[in-house]
Amino acid sequence: MAVRDADVTERERMDVVVGSILLAGVLVSLTLVAAGVAWHWMREGNPRFDYTLAGTTVFQFLVADVRALADGELRPRLLLNLGIAVLVLTPYLRVLASVVYFAVVEHDLKYTLFTGFVLATLTYTLLR
C-alpha cells in the first residue's frame, strides 16, 4: 500500500479546512435561528413564526434576504431566513472548497471533475 507522507500532510490540511467550514456554518446558522426565535418571542409574545416560503429557490431566497438587510429591514423573520440559508449553503461551500483543493492544490483531474459535477448539479438545483 503506497500512502505517501507528502500526500498525507496535504490531505490532513484539507481535512481541517473542510471541518472548519462545516463547524462555522452550523454554529452561525444555529445562532441566527435562535436569535430570530428569541427576538420574535420578545416582540410578539409568541415564539411561533407564521409565514410561508412559497416555492422559492435558495438563491432567490438569499438575495431577497440580503436586499432586505441592505435596506435596513432587520426583522426576526430575516434572521431565521438567513439562518436557514447559511445552513443550506454549508455543505455547498464544503463542496466548493473541495473543487478548489483538488484543482489547485492536488492538480487531480479525476477528483476535480467528480467534485465539479457535484458542485454544478447542486448549483443548478439551488438556482432552478
Binding site: M1, A2, V3, V8, R11, E12, D15, V16, V18, G19, S20, I21, L22, L23, G25, V26, S29, L30, V33, A34, G36, V37, N46, P47, R48, F49, D50, Y51, T52, L53, A54, G55, T56, T57, V58, F61, R77, L80, G83, I84, L87, V88, T90, P91, Y92, R94, V95, S98, F102, K110, Y111, F114, T115, F117, V118, T121, L122, T125, L126, R128
Partner: protein, 276 residues
C-alpha cells in the same frame, strides 16, 4: 401546535438519533405526523435539520482525520442524484404511499440493527482496478490502539450505484439514511467501521442539501416548524453523542429497537388506513 412541544420532540429525536447512530429523522417524522403535521411537511423540515446534525458531527470527525474525503467525493455524486430523484417523487406522491414506505424503512432499519454483526473488520487484501484508479486507499488514526491503520476501500463500481439507492431513500423520506450508507461502506466496500460511519456523515450533508433544494422550491418547508426543529434536533444530537460515551451500547440498542419497531408498525398501520 406549540413551539415548546415541537422543540421537545425534536430534542428527543436528535438525542435518540445520535445515540443510536440512525439520525434524528426516523423518530422526528413519525412523531410530528402524530402531532398533526402533514407527512410531506414533516419530511421536508426533517431533511433541513439533517444538514445541521450531519455537518455538526462530520466537522469533528473530519478534523480528527477519520473521514476518507475521496470516498466521500466519489460516492456523493450518486447519493446526490438519488436524493434529487427521491425528493421529486415525494413531492408528487400520495401521503398513503409515504406512510407505508416510511414504515417499511423503519422495520428494515430495525432488522439491520437487530442482526448487526459485531464491529469486526478485516482488511481488504485485493483492491479491484477501478477502486485503485479512484485511489481509495488511505489511513486513519485509531484512538483505541494509538496506531495509524492503513486500509483500502474496494468494489467502488458496486458501491456507487447502491449509494444512488440510499440517496433515493434519503430524499424520499427526509432522513439521512446513514444506516444504509454505513452498510454499503462496511459490507460492499470493506471500509473499517470508524471510517465508514464518519465518511457516511460527511456524505449525508450533500445528500440532505440536494433533498432540501427540491422541497424548498416545492414550497414544503415551513419556517415556523423549521426553527424549533433545527434547534431541538441539533442540541439533542450534540448532547446525544456525549451521553453515548457513558452508556452501554446494549442498553441504547434495546431502547432504540423498541422505539423503531413501534413507530414502524404504527406508520404502516396508518398507511393502510389511508395515510392520515
Amino acid at each position: 401546535m406549540s413551539v415548546a412541544l415541537v422543540l421537545a420532540v425534536a430534542f428527543v429525536a436528535g438525542l435518540i438519533g445520535a445515540m443510536s447512530g440512525m439520525g434524528g429523522g426516523v423518530v422526528l417524522i413519525p412523531v410530528l405526523t402524530l402531532l398533526g403535521v402533514d407527512i410531506k411537511h414533516a419530511i421536508a423540515v426533517s431533511i433541513v435539520s439533517v444538514i445541521a446534525t450531519s455537518s455538526g458531527s462530520a466537522s469533528a470527525y473530519v478534523r480528527d482525520h477519520l473521514t476518507n474525503l475521496k470516498v466521500a467525493m466519489f460516492l456523493e455524486m450518486f447519493t446526490m442524484l438519488g436524493a434529487l430523484a427521491g425528493a421529486a417523487i415525494t413531492v408528487v406522491s400520495g401521503t398513503r404511499v409515504l406512510f407505508l414506505l416510511f414504515g417499511c424503512v423503519l422495520l428494515v432499519s430495525w432488522a439491520v440493527l437487530w442482526f448487526r454483526r459485531r464491529e469486526q473488520w478485516s482488511p481488504v487484501a485485493e483492491q479491484d482496478a477501478f477502486s485503485r484508479w479512484l485511489e481509495l486507499e488511505w489511513r486513519y488514526p485509531d484512538a483505541a490502539t494509538g496506531r495509524t491503520v492503513e486500509y483500502r476501500a474496494t468494489r467502488a463500481w458496486l458501491g456507487g450505484p447502491l449509494m444512488f439507492g440510499a440517496g433515493v431513500v434519503a430524499g424520499l423520506l427526509g432522513i439521512g439514511a446513514g444506516a444504509l450508507k454505513v452498510l454499503i461502506h462496511d459490507l460492499v466496500m470493506g471500509m473499517p467501521p470508524k471510517v465508514s460511519t464518519t465518511t457516511s456523515n460527511l456524505i449525508i450533508g450533500v445528500t440532505a442539501l440536494a433533498g432540501t433544494s427540491v422541497y424548498l422550491s416545492a414550497g414544503l418547508i415551513d419556517p415556523g416548524l423549521a426553527a424549533p426543529v433545527i434547534l431541538g434536533v441539533t442540541v439533542g444530537a450534540f448532547l446525544g453523542t456525549r451521553i453515548l460515551v457513558r452508556l452501554s451500547n446494549e442498553a441504547v440498542r434495546r431502547v432504540f429497537l423498541c422505539v423503531l419497531g413501534v413507530l414502524g408498525v404504527e406508520m404502516i398501520v396508518r398507511g393502510l388506513r389511508g395515510g392520515s
